[in-house]
Amino acid sequence: MNYDEETVAMKAHMELYGVPNMRNVVASRNSPGGVEEAEKVMPLLLDALTKPLTAKEKKKGKWSPEEPRILFEGSLEEAEKIYKKTEKIPGLLNTPFATYTDGMPVVIPTEERVKAMLKGTSHKPDEMITIQRDMEIRGPGGGGPGGRGMRKKGELVVFQPMFRTATVEQVAVNAVMAGCEPEYFPLVLAMAESGAGGARGNGGGGIVSGPYYKEIGMNVSYGRFGPGNPANKTIGRVGSLLWRNLGGFKDTVTGVSVTTSYSNPMTNGGFLFAEYAEGLPKGWKGLNEELGFKKNENVYMPMQPSHFGLGQIHMPGVYRSLQRTGHGAIARYLGVKGIVGPHNYIEFLIKGVFACREGAITMVMPPQIAQDMYDYGFKSKSDIYEYIWKKSFEPIRDYRMRGTPDESTNGWMGIERTSGKHWKELSDDYMVPTNGPSADGNCIIVCDGQETCTERFGGGHGAAYSIDAWR
């Protein structure tokens, strides 16, 4: 039994699980109290349980759709029409939806161009995309329904939502289409290894850490998401193509309408940037080191960014005034008027940050602000993570009034992690963190910039995928 808009997704799942003829009953979302709808569906459900099977429903067999390696042979002009093909998606009011692309024109992936892309890796074209090392997978923010789990080296990567797999060559085809250069390809393969922002990620986003960013010319300074830098833009874009072509697309509420009404504007066109490790204060670890790699090793950390710009905002001069002269809005807020810094800018930054959302946060900090925070007393990134996390506690009575914990606590049936007790056993006064189950879900990235504001968005630490493994 499913709601109307989920029928296409339900049927796709039936096929994927080998029961394409499973009986399903469709219900409406709009029945007050559900009483009338229950009356309507009850006989249909009983009928589905008792009505004898048809010959079709008893059928065995195999479902094995095949996609040819060569999509088209002809001129480039003709090929452009093929790659621009669209299909109608009922859940989107039958609007045209690009079959092979993100909706924008692409570089046509001729055999020669794909061959050139494959020179960017030592991996063979027919090699399947697999996990490259034993690793722990963390859900966005280090917790939530995604939770944590182990992946084993050699495990086949299955792309959501259609449970597809892919070869190195198929990833190269997408990289060519996005306009990538062969030297970007190890990073693109690491993105594929991460699952390419499948399910409702629409390609997701990601952060690169390690000196590789210099090799391929990623912009780690101003305008990281803006126009102009080929590496940030084309590699960022390939995420959407991998999502579309490796993951497939299902017409589903969670995929297209309720939670992604605007798709994800932050990942539209690519949400990819790199860390500027040269700007880290002495003693602060780079993202690669935080995730268990060495300084000179290169990693890709996927994330599903959200809530961009959450918390306080300010003009650059307000920050300068705070730290250099003790004037301006932040100095007034912190009660340090007239006193030269360093002052605790983080205290100001997170004011109200958890008022309307929960979970880990990512902060992208210019080197000067990072240095000021070091001088203030945060001798590691972890000191800041811990500070934010401790500030996020509130009584359960308030936490219950929030919009997402119904899901993240599995209807309050799970275990509250700071106490190890069932949610329902805890008193209303018990204090719980709104910043996710642990402080290490938070994430700080230092990027070049002078007195710009620290950017904040939802997301936090995730798993690390080695770029070097795909060279």
Partner: protein
């Protein structure tokens, strides 16, 4: 001069083959049977539906498992042996 012919590759991944399974035999009667209600997501119409099932068919052994996400809570091996039918409902 004839236009050059290019071979253009497909960007689509591999859909692994799936063995198709026949549906489980249907029930000849509800009497004495164990029917499992697998509730996923918000309760929504499940609340009145479960009440009506239990009220109108007391001769059925109704069992239930509930989770808040779209993924159903799985039956144990033992439960699978003793369950005659499942109604899975996703109120997402």
């Amino acid at each position: 001069m004839a236009e050059k012919v290019y071979k253009c590759l497909s960007p689509v991944g591999i859909q692994e083959a799936v063995d198709l399974v026949p549906l489980a035999p249907r029930l000849d009667t509800l009497k004495g049977k164990t029917i499992h209600l697998s509730i996923c997501g918000e309760l929504d119409i499940w609340a009145p539906l479960e009440k009506r099932f239990k009220g109108e068919f007391p001769e059925v052994n109704w069992t239930r498992k509930m989770g808040y996400t779209p993924q159903p809570v799985k039956l144990t091996e033992e439960e699978r042996k003793t369950t005659d039918a499942v109604i899975l409902g996703v109120c997402w």
